[in-house]
Amino acid sequence: MVKYLAKRIARSFLTLAVILTVVFCLLRFMPIEGYFQNFDKMTPQQIQVGLKEMGLTDPLPAQILRFFNDLLHGDLGVSRIYRTNVSVSRILADKVPVSIKLGLWSMVLSLVIGLPLGAVMARYQYRWPDRLGTLFIVCIQAVPAAVYYLYLQLYGSSLLDVGLLFKMEDPKYWLLPVFSMSLGNVAFYGMWLRRYMVDESNRDYVKLAKAKGLSEGEIMFKHIFRNAFVPLVQYIPTAFLNTVIGSIYIESLYSIPGMGGLLVMVIKKHDNAMVQGIVLLYACVGVLGLLFGDILMVMLDPRISLGRKEGDR
């Protein structure tokens, strides 16, 4: 196990380096018009000087080496356009906690609603709680998030009597964004827990439990739920770490100063240092999420062992 983890962590670093290099190269393919606000009026000399100032005239490998050198010294560079000459790590340090707070609350809410929903649907399969839940899940999946978020804001804000401007300190202002953001995940957890629980309930050990005379509730929660929860557990660390990424719709709707939309914006503005910083953050989150997901799965289900997972099968 320890050996496997060490190997895997070492490989993760390699993956991170490759991701950063690829993104770095891709960014250098971007058309140079984007770097200047008044490109059409500039002379070729001015453009050359501008590019040189940004260090873009050096050969690509030299640029990459410089970037990794800075990175190893803990320097992510400075933002060029988004907030001129403020270091990337400072900007991220301001924004990440807001998104984490929003994401964490919505994750808690979606687990608290979604898991019982799935369990109840599986318990009363094909009866009205199941049908009602299915209707809810289908609706949430069918109507685009961009639309139902809008309606929630429209009716919710008049119902709760909150203004359009977001106030960080007032908990009332967090209610709607957190609730809207959790809806999609409630449907996700509900749907998959129901699926896995229904699959589990046909297994032999459930029949044995029934034959032993255990009560329906006890079978459901002590036996079926624990087994059905294993495949879902894999997603939880990823979901937790993904809160860093934020939600582009929600944060722009409620004007929450978080991470959502930041990446799209800085890519469009050709703010290379910012893009690289954010990509590093996201890639770390992705790689770590997978790792923690696997570890959690091993802890919950003793039959799964990681070391042999890839080789022996």
Binding site: R11, T15, V18, I19, V22, V23, L26, L27, F29, M30, P31, V138, C139, Q141, A142, V143, P144, A146, V147, L150, Y151, L154, I248, Y249, G261, L263, V264, I267, K268, V275, V279, Y282, A283, G286, V287, L290, E310, R313
Partner: protein, 328 residues
């Protein structure tokens, strides 16, 4: 025991002595019902699948509606009295028909610059369905071929997993922006961009399914008998996965349409003169604050929701029907 046996034996031979040769051995005539009873059946997988699917009334109704919708988007421009979706319409005084509410002249009203919403919605539905179907077909072809190799051939598993980790972590936005700079924004470009990042998800899904069944006993048996790998894949593995692949494909179509809405939202979608559901919803979103104009958001949303729900339900019904365990 012995005694009983010899008694029966004696009895039989006694009986046989009284019979003629022709009574003992006669040719049986072929009777179809008799033949059915002894295990032979003209079972056909696809026939049973379709039969099982047609038993699900709700799904069949939705399928019919969906096909009608698809046909209608194509014949709508040729119907009499239709407007061009991109034409800005003027009234008798030369003023634009701006934000005309749904009524007799304009069935679903007009948008903020005076284009007929009815025509735009059908043109948009056509574009979006086309995008969804093209993306799904392309992803299925690439994803299934790569996924099968990824799952079955152990040597490539490591490399492909690393490639997956890399592609999965490169933000789609960068790729989308690069492609929209290199190529002109059009339906083909959008489909290309969506496939470029989407195929690996499909491949990963297939790979996980293959991993689960690749070492089942019947596959091990085939391998021991020397069946070539290609035949195992085509005859043993893929038929087993038909139902999950179908479900996945049915869900990819609405997902691609929804993805188009998102891409339009971040400003990388199709130009406004190619109407799509993403365009229309985005135009409608701006008008949410005034209640009188909300119809411009609601109509495209209804179509989008209908398409999504239909594919979801049809996909599930078909996947259930394609599972041989559910055949009679």
């Amino acid at each position: 025991m012995m005694k009983q046996f010899s008694y029966r034996h004696a009895k039989e031979s006694q009986l046989m002595d009284h019979m003629k040769e022709s009574d003992l051995f006669t040719f049986a005539e072929f009777k179809e019902e008799e033949a059915e009873r002894t295990g032979y059946s003209n079972y056909s997988y696809w026939k049973s699948t379709i039969q099982a699917f047609f038993k699900n009334r709700g799904a069949v109704v939705l399928l019919v509606f969906l096909i009608l919708l698809l046909i209608f988007t194509f014949i709508q421009p040729y119907l009499p009295g239709q407007y061009d979706p991109n034409k800005i319409l003027n009234d008798a005084n030369g003023m634009h028909y701006r934000n005309v509410p749904p009524g007799k002249v304009f069935l679903l009203g007009t948008n903020s610059i005076g284009q007929d919403l009815w025509a735009r919605i059908w043109a948009g539905t056509r574009t979006s369905l086309l995008i969804g179907i093209l993306v799904t077909i392309a992803e299925a072809i690439i994803g299934i071929s790569v996924g099968v190799i990824w799952g079955y051939v152990r040597k490539v598993d490591f490399i492909l997993t690393e490639i997956y980790n890399i592609i999965d972590n490169i933000p789609n936005t960068i790729i989308l922006i690069l492609i929209s700079y290199i190529l002109k924004p059009s339906v083909q470009t959008l489909v290309f961009a969506m496939c470029l990042t989407g195929w690996i998800q499909m491949a990963r899904f297939i790979r996980n399914q293959i991993l689960i069944i690749r070492d089942r006993d019947y596959n091990v048996a085939s391998r021991c008998l020397g069946t070539p790998t290609g035949r195992i894949i085509v005859k043993n593995l893929l038929p087993y996965l038909v139902s999950v692949i179908m479900l996945r494909m049915a869900l990819t179509i609405p997902a691609a349409i929804g993805n188009e809405v998102f891409i339009t939202y971040i400003g990388l979608g199709l130009p406004v003169d190619i109407p799509s559901l993403g365009n229309l919803i985005n135009e409608g979103r701006v008008l949410i604050t005034s209640a009188a104009l909300r119809y411009q958001l609601i109509y495209p949303t209804i179509i989008l929701s209908f398409v999504t729900i239909s594919f979801y339900i049809i996909g599930n019904a078909f996947s259930d029907a394609a599972d041989p365990k559910n055949h009679v």
